[in-house]
């Protein structure tokens, strides 16, 4: 009986481990993020590297729109728990126009057309927020800047969604990247 249980557990663990979704070869990475002071306050500049998997590239070329949500947070560090002082979500939608052979990137208030995929991804890579109120940050406290980009699977066509949750080709999100804010 014990041997059977051990075997079952081993098979389960192997099955979980072997799910392609655990692979993060195509996950986006937040290369840098910094808080920049300007006359109107602060702004966050981040540089995100996107890597599209072959399946995602094929889907894009076949007209499937891909969407990412970039999350930016500024947290005040505490002894036990951090408290959030600023939060921003910037959605990006990348789509290919077969007629014009151009890539379109939509973001709030922006619509840009690009002749190459790299150009479109580079545009998406450079994230800049609007001005952040200076009063939000106190000089006496320490803060952390957290940035991540999340691939929006629910934006995919319905038949593709279940696969996107299981196939590693669709694991295009990044983890949270956290930087301490230099005073």
């Amino acid at each position: 009986m014990d041997k059977l249980k051990l075997l079952s557990c081993s098979v389960l663990l192997w099955g979980l481990w072997s799910i392609p979704g655990f692979a993060d070869d195509f996950a986006a990475k937040v290369r840098t993020a910094k808080l920049v002071e300007n006359p109107n306050g602060y702004s966050v500049n981040a540089d995100i590297a996107y890597h599209l998997s072959p399946t995602a590239q094929e889907a894009l070329l076949k007209g499937v729109a891909l969407a990412w949500d970039v999350f930016i947070e500024i947290n005040r560090t505490g002894l036990l728990l951090n408290s959030r002082v600023y939060q921003k979500k910037i959605p990006y939608i990348l789509q290919f126009h077969a007629l014009l052979n151009q890539y379109e990137v939509k973001s709030p208030g922006q619509l840009e057309m690009f002749l190459s995929l790299n150009a479109a991804l580079n545009f998406m890579a450079a994230v800049q927020t609007h001005a952040i109120d200076k009063n939000l940050l106190n000089n006496n406290d320490s803060y952390q800047l957290a940035v991540k980009t999340e691939f929006n699977r629910e934006f995919l066509p319905v038949p593709l969604r279940p696969v996107a949750y299981l196939d590693g080709q669709w694991f295009l999100s990044s983890a949270w990247f956290v930087w301490p804010i230099q005073k």
């Binding site: 840009e112 002749l115 038949p159 593709l160 949750y165």
Partner: protein
């Protein structure tokens, strides 16, 4: 208890929703969930956002249902292993249902998936692929031509602006704008400084300057031309070319694309993209629809199987209760009352079962009370039979012994009860001394058709015994023989008492009638002798003297005989006292030392105290020793044994006296204790009769030990006062 169970059942049924309502609600949820998921697969549906959640919810629902089915199946398997009532019927019904439901559902699922896959495949073919590509190429060519024409036009305009001052350029672009049909014309430096611009929209003060991306391309390619999205979903052609001779100045012209062209291009692009997307999603669509179908099948099947489990359990529940009730009844529990759960045929069956158990219980109680009554009667009869002084033996139709009472053993001195189920013949083979008596009873039983009575004399272990037997054949109501019963009583003592009474009467009459005339006879003879002796001649006188002497002697003899009878018949005057029988014997044996009799005694250790008249007991022993001595020619040997005996729960002392004389034959044994029975030439024959009389007066018994064959053996049994150990 039963009514309490019924109350609990009723309360539970009031609280619990009816099974049918629960089933409808469950199926409602299943159908709603599946319908929502089906709708969510439509791109146009607003439920599309919920698709993943619905998929997860339905999957979880399937898993829960699978768990419920598994739990029910496991429970059923356990019940089967325990061989619980109704488990096999439930298994059979569930298996049948699953088989009947699963087979068509699986077939429908298989063909549905096949049709679905074929349907999706039929959407795509090479011709449509080519048509789509051609349409797109056509559109692209058309747009490219338009673009080329606008590039050429823009280059010409740039040529016209060569070598002109900023003022000249400002004046020239106005005419160019009028001729070209452009929306906006602007001239700016490589640093982005606007030199001149004109636009169809008066509100546009500033021209649409190129952004960083365009500047980048412009620096790389010297020229820029592209279709750009304009306002209100319109499309614009942006062309930027350098004004020759002066690379630091650029001419930007924005041409409108006709709305019709834009619409057609959008339509073609949409169709192409849509088709391309569908091509890409071809396998995903198949998987997705198959998954939904599978979920539909799984949810429906699992829900149906679970409901089948519940329904079949509900159906089988009364049967299960009935089986349990039947088992309980089979084990003798007639108090089983099953709860009536429904008013259908099964409910009727349960009610009938309850009535049946009630009736059985009532009948059982009646039978039990009747049996108890019979048992009491039987016990009563057995008690009576056991305490009867008469022996009772009952026989079956084949004359096998069925019952024997205690008195039979007491009378016959053999354990007849050990021979229950056997015949009297078998008993006779084991006890040959009683064979004759038992055979005669057997013959009487077999021959008799009516009540019979017979006196049977036999020589038992205690001497001669006389039984008064009465036999009654037993018949059934139909006249057939069912057996017989024999009642017998030991009348030996009764007969003996009658004989003794008769002898006493004889003795009394002898004493009265014979002894009285003897004295006058003797006196008359003596007077005759006295008167006539002197007067008669010598010879006559001598004859007279002999005659009178004979008369006197015979009269004396007759007197002694009559005295002996008187003594025998007279009630003894006992002076009882407690004595040690062993001491009495030892004293008596000491007196016989000179007589030459060789005594061999065997006495137990201690004292044997008896409450007797020592004079009478001495007379008894004298008589026995005297008889032994007279019956022995050779030196007389007498063995004396004293032992303990228990008879009818009373302690007795047994005193056995054995000699080495001529012994007694069967006839002598039968009459040895009767008066006037003697084998000697002399003697009145009253010795042993007096011995028996004395012993019986002391509450004891004496008999001839027939098992002793080396002479005569007598056994005296006397009630003992106490066996005292030293």
């Amino acid at each position: 208890m039963v009514s309490f169970q019924r109350l609990v059942c009723m309360a539970y049924s009031k609280i619990k929703l009816p099974a049918s309502v629960s089933i409808f609600i469950l199926f409602g949820f299943v159908l709603l969930s599946l319908q929502l998921m089906s709708s969510a697969t439509q791109e146009s549906s607003q439920l599309g956002e919920m698709y993943s959640w619905l998929l997860v919810i339905n999957t979880i629902g399937s898993i829960i249902l699978l768990g419920l089915v598994a739990i029910n199946a496991y429970s059923l398997i356990r019940e089967l292993k325990k061989k619980e009532a109704g488990s096999r019927l439930t298994t059979r019904m569930v298996s049948l249902f699953v088989l009947l439901a699963l087979a068509p559902a699986a077939i429908v699922f298989y063909f549905s998936v096949q049709f679905l896959h074929q349907g999706i495949d039929s959407w795509f073919n090479v011709e449509i692929d080519r048509a789509m590509d051609d349409a797109l190429e056509l559109s692209q060519t058309s747009l490219a031509q338009r673009m080329n024409w606008h590039i050429k036009q823009t280059r010409q305009m740039a040529g016209q602006l060569q070598n002109k001052s900023e003022t000249g350029i400002a004046l020239e672009i106005g005419s160019l704008w009028n001729d070209s049909g452009a929306i906006e014309i602007a001239v700016f430096t490589s640093q982005g400084q606007i030199l001149a611009s004109t636009s169809t929209n008066p509100s546009d003060i500033l021209p649409h300057l190129p952004d960083e991306q365009i500047w980048l391309q412009l620096r790389q390619n010297k020229e820029y031309f592209a279709y750009n999205p304009g306002e209100n979903d319109e499309m614009l052609v942006r062309i930027i070319v350098p004004i020759q001779r002066d690379q630091s100045r650029y001419l930007q012209v924005l041409y409108p694309v006709p709305v019709r062209v834009t619409d057609l291009a959008d339509s073609i692009e949409f169709a192409f993209i849509r088709y391309q997307e569908m091509t890409f999603l071809r396998d995903s669509l198949k998987t997705s629809f198959s998954l939904i179908l599978l979920l539909v099948l799984l949810l429906s099947m699992l829900a149906a199987i679970w409901v089948a489990f519940i329904s079949i359990r509900n159906i089988v529940a009364p049967v299960k209760e009935l089986v349990k009730g039947t088992q309980a009844v089979a084990e003798g529990d007639y108090q089983q009352q099953l709860p009536v759960m429904s008013q259908d045929e099964l409910g009727f069956l349960v009610e009938s079962f309850n009535q049946m158990t009630k009736r059985i219980a009532r009948s059982r109680d009646e039978t039990r009370s009747a049996g108890l009554e019979v048992e009491n009667q039987r016990a009563y009869l057995e008690t009576i039979l056991a305490n009867l002084t008469a022996g009772v033996i009952s026989f079956d139709a084949s004359f096998y012994i069925r019952t024997v009472n205690q008195a039979a053993y007491r009378i016959l001195h053999i354990p007849v009860s050990h021979f229950v189920g056997q015949t009297l013949q078998t008993l006779a083979t084991k006890h040959t001394d009683l064979a004759e008596m038992l055979s005669s009873i057997q013959q009487l039983l077999e021959k008799a058709e009516d009540i019979w009575e017979q006196r049977i004399v036999f020589l038992g272990p205690n001497g001669r015994q006389e039984l008064l037997c009465r036999g009654t054949p037993l018949f059934l109501q139909n006249g057939s023989r069912m057996g017989a019963v024999v009642v017998f009583d030991d009348v030996t003592d009764l007969i003996q008492a009658q004989k003794n009474a008769a002898w006493g009467e004889v003795a009394r009459r002898l004493a009265h009638e014979i002894k009285n005339p003897l004295t006058p006879i003797q006196l008359s003879a003596e007077r005759l002798q006295h008167k006539l002796a002197k007067e008669l001649p010598e010879t006559s006188a001598e004859f007279l003297q002999r005659g009178t002497r004979t008369i006197v002697q015979q009269v004396e003899a007759m007197k002694r005989m009559v005295d002996d009878f008187s003594e025998y018949a007279r009630p003894s005057k006992k002076q009882v006292e407690i004595i040690n029988l062993i001491e009495l014997l030892q004293e008596l044996l000491a007196l016989y030392t000179p007589s030459g009799i060789v005594f061999k005694s065997s006495f137990p250790a201690g004292q044997v105290l008896v409450e007797v008249d020592p004079v009478s007991i001495r007379q008894v022993l004298h008589n026995l020793f005297k008889n032994a001595q007279e019956a022995t020619n050779t030196p007389c040997h007498i063995d004396i044994k004293i032992s303990k005996a228990i008879r009818n729960n009373v302690e007795y002392v047994e005193l056995a006296v054995y000699d080495n004389g001529s012994g007694l034959n069967t006839e002598q044994i039968e009459t040895i204790f009767d008066p006037y029975v003697t084998s000697k030439n002399k003697g009145t024959g009253l010795g042993l009769a007096i011995v028996k009389k004395i012993i019986e007066e002391h509450g004891g018994a004496i008999w001839v030990d027939t098992s002793y064959n080396d002479g005569a053996g007598f056994v005296i049994q006397l009630p003992v006062f106490e066996f005292r150990n030293t």
